[in-house]
């Protein structure tokens, strides 16, 4: 070897500097959706805990939602757009295979020429991206990372589907991650179980649609019982591992924000984790619905905005979803 490479200079710690949220502007009630699924407001509330879900109109897409949330996160963090050197958008509803949502969003918000890429990790996507941002910042690969979880799930719903469509909403949550003088993001405990991939996903592939247009627009469906069992009883163990990895105990947790999949899953997770009654639990799903990759940052933003959580709160967050995939970490709220 004739030359020795230089590698990035690591920094000791990282943290979330600010969070921003942009929900769909339309408020859709259970009564609006119950007819085609032969259901009722009461059944939907009992089964999912949802009262309303926010959806975006036809004139707004993942890019618009991401842009709005990102600008709010930058303002909250006190970071200028040109200080962002990496943009990561986690989404499954960007409207094109390519170019990425991240490249377009980076340009729109004034962060061009930041590194920009999308990730696809469904409802675990925000926690996956926070894990990535933590690693990028602490390794010295990036200084300020903009993480966005953004979805327009109303683009892939089937109004007659009883398995998942009526839970889904639209929105984007963004976080700016940067260097810190204290540890603000614990180790990410993450993984997958691709053997259960058929449990949640698109009804048919793009090429199947191309070759047989009668199949119609692909939408989302799930095997709700399998997903409930997996999330409530298996995934919850990774939340325990994330606490242990961060060196905290349940008594140290101030806030718990699981992916807002279904209030019944949230309730069961709280029960299984034996979190103290003092822990504030994110339950934004009641009003916002299940917004996949956006759900955790939206729920966190809401708790902060309403004063139920405060800067410095030690927060356990866990995402889980189609893949099946999961990711959990303990963070300190900005």
């Amino acid at each position: 070897m004739s030359v020795t490479l230089r590698q990035n200079t690591p920094v000791a710690f990282s943290r979330i500097l600010g969070i921003g949220a942009e929900r769909g502007e339309l408020v859709v009630t259970n009564d609006d959706l119950a007819g085609p699924i032969g259901s009722s407001d009461e059944w939907i509330r009992q089964r999912t805990g949802i009262v309303t879900r926010t959806r975006a109109g036809d004139d707004r897409d993942v890019l618009d939602l991401s842009e709005a949330a990102s600008l709010k996160a930058l303002a909250a963090a006190g970071v200028a757009p040109d200080q962002i050197d990496t943009v990561v958008v986690s989404t499954v509803t960007h409207d094109m295979r390519t170019p990425s949502a991240a490249a377009i969003v980076a340009d729109r918000i004034g962060a061009n020429p930041a590194a920009a890429y999308d990730i696809s990790a469904a409802c675990a996507g925000y926690c996956y991206a926070i894990g990535q941002a933590d690693a990028l910042v602490r390794s010295g690969a990036a200084r300020h990372v903009l993480v966005v979880g953004a979805e327009k799930l109303s683009d892939i719903v089937d109004p007659t589907d009883r398995s998942i469509s009526f839970l889904l909403g639209d929105g984007a949550g963004a976080a700016v991650v940067g260097p810190s003088d204290f540890p603000g993001i614990g180790p990410t405990v993450w993984g997958s179980d691709g053997a259960k991939a058929p449990s949640i996903g698109q009804t048919h592939t793009w090429t199947q649609l191309r070759d047989n247009p009668d199949l119609g627009w692909p939408t989302l469906r799930q095997d709700g019982q399998t997903v409930f069992k997996w999330a409530s009883f298996q995934v919850v163990k990774f939340a325990e591992q994330a606490m242990a990895a961060a060196g905290v105990r349940p008594e140290d947790i101030d806030v718990f924000v699981p992916h807002q999949a279904n209030m019944r899953i949230i309730d069961q997770m709280v029960k299984t984790l034996k979190l103290p009654a003092t822990v504030v639990v994110g339950r934004d799903i009641a009003d916002t619905g299940n917004t996949s990759a956006a759900s955790i940052p939206l729920a966190v933003e809401r708790l902060l905005a309403e004063g139920q959580a405060k800067p410095g709160d030690v927060t356990l967050q866990i995402g889980f979803g189609a893949g099946l995939v999961y990711a959990a970490q303990v963070v300190v709220l900005p």
Binding site: D223, G224, T226, K229
Partner: protein
């Protein structure tokens, strides 16, 4: 340890009581989970998970829809024990 039918029924009744608040004597073999005990498909998965732990058996997800009555569940759990 192999549980008898009666022990499985009793154990299941405890699990169901804990999950639903029903009295244990409401859990009889001929009772339908959905129609008689008002247990929806998500609560059913919680009950199934606790039963798997209690009786050290595995109840596959796609088997759950076949367990219409308490008796179906007792029969399945008893048979699943080796």
């Amino acid at each position: 340890m192999a549980y008898t039918d009666t022990e499985v029924l009793e154990g299941l009744a405890e699990i169901i009581a804990e999950e639903t608040g029903l009295p244990t004597d409401a859990v009889q073999l001929d009772k339908s989970f959905t129609d008689d005990l008002d247990i929806d498909s998500l609560s059913m998965m919680t009950i199934v998970t606790h039963a798997e732990d209690k009786f050290s058996v595995r109840i596959p997800d796609d088997e759950v829809k076949n367990l219409t009555t308490v008796g179906d569940a007792v029969k399945f759990i008893t048979a699943a024990q080796d």
